[in-house]
Symmetry: C2
Subunit: 142 residues, 2 copies
DNA sequence: CATTTAGTTTAGAACTATTATAAATTAATA
DNA sequence: TATTAATTTATAATAGTTCTAAACTAAATG
């Protein structure tokens, strides 16, 4: 729940000009109580519904990537046909419901700490992601 | 290390006709000591190098998907721009080297068992995948 | 406040991975 | 050997994403 001037600061502080478009995108993404997951298409739709005007897809892509690079969004890779983004930038994992194609955040009550015993020599761990795919009981496991 | 007649049986047993193309793909994928990771493009390239003739991309896609459906391959989702496949169909996790774009299998010496304490009500877990992204020390963590 | 400049937005083209199509081919079957 | 049903193929189509270059706009400068 941030207000416009806070978004202006947030953007300025990260070297991004607070343009009309970016502020609108901030409103849709960050002006809410709960974090959520979205695709570029979801976001484009939300914007045009909320403001009754469109922002160019190219701008949406640019902005989402800029926000990701600045650490305001996380990208979640579930399938190769589409990118998902998460406004929850804390370390956490996901359930992916294969029936509904919905992503659900996991918290520490649901997935215990992942124990990485050995890492590749000379490399640093940049992230650890767990994806638990779930489906209704009738579907077969693989 | 399987021979041609074994591939014929393998295919027949799973209701797939042992065509020239499928047998060639089997050779490239399964006639080796170690399992490996590949993209569709990698596979297409390997085939044309190994046999000095091409198999239509459509056939490669069809066959890889058929093999995946039959459980002979696993798909690994790392990025949204390309699908990776794994001939190692046992349960295991991966390191992904962001510098080289290489996938490396984890074994139980490297990642301990993931403890799923609670699952979504009414759903069955179909897979648990851990992806550990690594990069050289100089790159920044996120 | 006007001018400059550098960053941003935009529509649309281009690109990439993947899937669909429908005709030709081939494996299995009668 | 003839029939049939599955498979392969080249190519078109599609979807998500990135590129491009012109128009626009925020910030910096005088």
């Amino acid at each position: 729940m941030l207000k416009n001037s806070e978004f202006v600061n947030k953007l300025r502080n990260s070297g991004l000009r607070p343009t009309k478009q970016r502020l609108k995108i901030c409103e849709v993404l960050f002006n809410r109580d709960k974090t959520f997951h979205f695709t570029i298409n979801d976001l484009a739709k939300s914007i045009s519904e909320k403001f009754n005007e469109k922002i160019s897809l190219a701008t949406i892509y640019n902005t989402v990537h800029a926000f990701k690079d600045k650490g305001y969004l996380k990208e979640i890779t579930i399938s190769s046909d589409k990118s998902y983004f998460d406004t929850n930038i804390t370390k956490h994992h996901h359930f992916y419901d294969e029936d509904t194609n919905l992503l659900i955040d996991c918290n520490d009550n649901e997935i215990g700490k992942v124990n990485i015993k050995n890492n590749i020599t000379g490399k640093k761990i940049s992230s650890v992601e767990v994806l638990v795919r779930v489906a209704s009981d009738t579907q077969n496991q693989n």
